[in-house]
Symmetry: C2
Subunit: 246 residues, 2 copies
């Protein structure tokens, strides 16, 4: 519980490799997560070779953490392995569709989170790279991912060289809904986000970016509509190219 | 680690409610998971009222576990709350697209897995209901989910009234790939699935279903192409209806 509640993403790592046995143990713990019909619709690709990490880093927009982490684990929704098993056992796989893609993505993400907790339990630090879905097409090329697979997230792993503060969260009443979704009125939204907006770091963030409100930093700079729309079209196209047609 | 490695889904529960403080603590631990840009793109709806559980159960195909668990937690990809905050802070949200939907789904799934581990740490048992994406449209109605939200998974929670064996997993070499994806040849696939195929329970499963191979039980009965295609179209339509257009 302590481990879950004290999680903070690590973006600076010691120059120290992760023992292969530890890496295997982490992925094993990942694989103990629940999985759709026990089909295990995922694979994990570990990138440790420096040249390969340098190939991946630009696809993660050259975030320092992607460049410097000793290990990148890419979590892949995978219906390739299972479908091959079907085909060679006189069974016709029916998984080249969106719903199957999404089921495999769920599987891969539960594995990822279990693996992160296992890693932290070994004293390692982790950072999710949300950039995987932006450049899935290029990551597929670098990692040689076959049809019926799709990379859904990447986790940078290594021994921490920093100890960041916990980041802010909105109050629980903004997250947990009793019986039905409680939609929020303006005053409630104000209240939920007040703590975040009043953090010195966030005020600084607004100032540095020359914006009037913190929300504008998100909409105009960090997660822009035009980028989201561009990467939506690209991602949908890549899902289809990987054989999940719709 | 023990907790992760000893996980087995629980489908039979004691007739005993879960203390609201424990439920809050579980969801809080969920919310400590990594989240895209710290936007917390998720909500959790707790269904405990008997009538509401009876409304949800048919949408989970009346699985006994859905009918009998004292709590169902539905994990919702949620760009509604964040977008409202943007709008009332002079910022134009740009999240009505597929990529934003998928980012929120990732967020919600990491919360779900953390919450499951926290629940197990309290001695509770959990079972994922993969059926959520099949009937998302109807679940949206029952839980009154607004536009820019989408239910991605549901977890049944309660005090265990059974202690099932761990389920089988394929060997780690079928999951963990070194540097690039190692695609599998026929002999390798045979080897990966041999243990599963030779389990007495699986042989029984093939027999009961009148099939020749275990793979056929999956393709012809449990996860059929025609069902997958039907639910793909339905799910895509629902994602769009919820305001994530593409």
């Amino acid at each position: 519980m302590e481990l879950l509640n004290q999680h903070a993403s690590i973006r600076k790592f010691e120059d120290r490799a992760v023992d292969p046995k530890i890496l295997e143990s982490i992925v094993y713990s990942g694989s103990r997560a629940s999985t759709t019909g026990n089909m295990q619709l995922y694979s994990v690709v570990a990138t440790q070779d420096k040249e390969n990490r340098q190939r991946l880093a630009p696809l993660h927009f050259n975030q320092k953490v992607a460049l410097e982490a000793p290990v990148l684990l890419t979590f892949v929704a995978d219906f390739n392995r299972f479908s091959k098993w079907c085909t060679q056992n006189s069974a016709e796989p029916g998984y080249s569709n969106f719903h199957s893609f999404f089921s495999a993505a769920i599987d891969a993400l539960l594995v990822a989170q279990n693996a992160c907790i296992a890693a932290e339990n070994y004293g390692l630090g982790i950072c999710y790279l949300g950039t995987t879905t932006y450049n899935a097409k290029e990551i597929i090329d670098v990692l040689k991912l076959p049809k019926l697979t799709f990379p859904v997230t990447t986790v940078a792993i290594g021994y921490p060289a920093e100890k960041p503060e916990l980041t802010d969260r909105i109050p629980l009443k903004g997250i947990l809904h009793n019986e039905t979704y409680h939609d929020f009125n303006e005053a409630e939204i104000d209240e939920l986000y007040a703590y975040k907006e009043n953090l010195e770091s966030m005020k600084q963030f607004v100032l540095e970016n020359g914006k009037e409100t913190l929300a504008q930093v998100f909409t105009d700079i960090r997660y822009k509509k035009s980028d989201n729309e561009f990467f939506s079209a690209k991602m949908l196209q890549t899902i289809k190219e990987q054989g999940f047609s719709f």
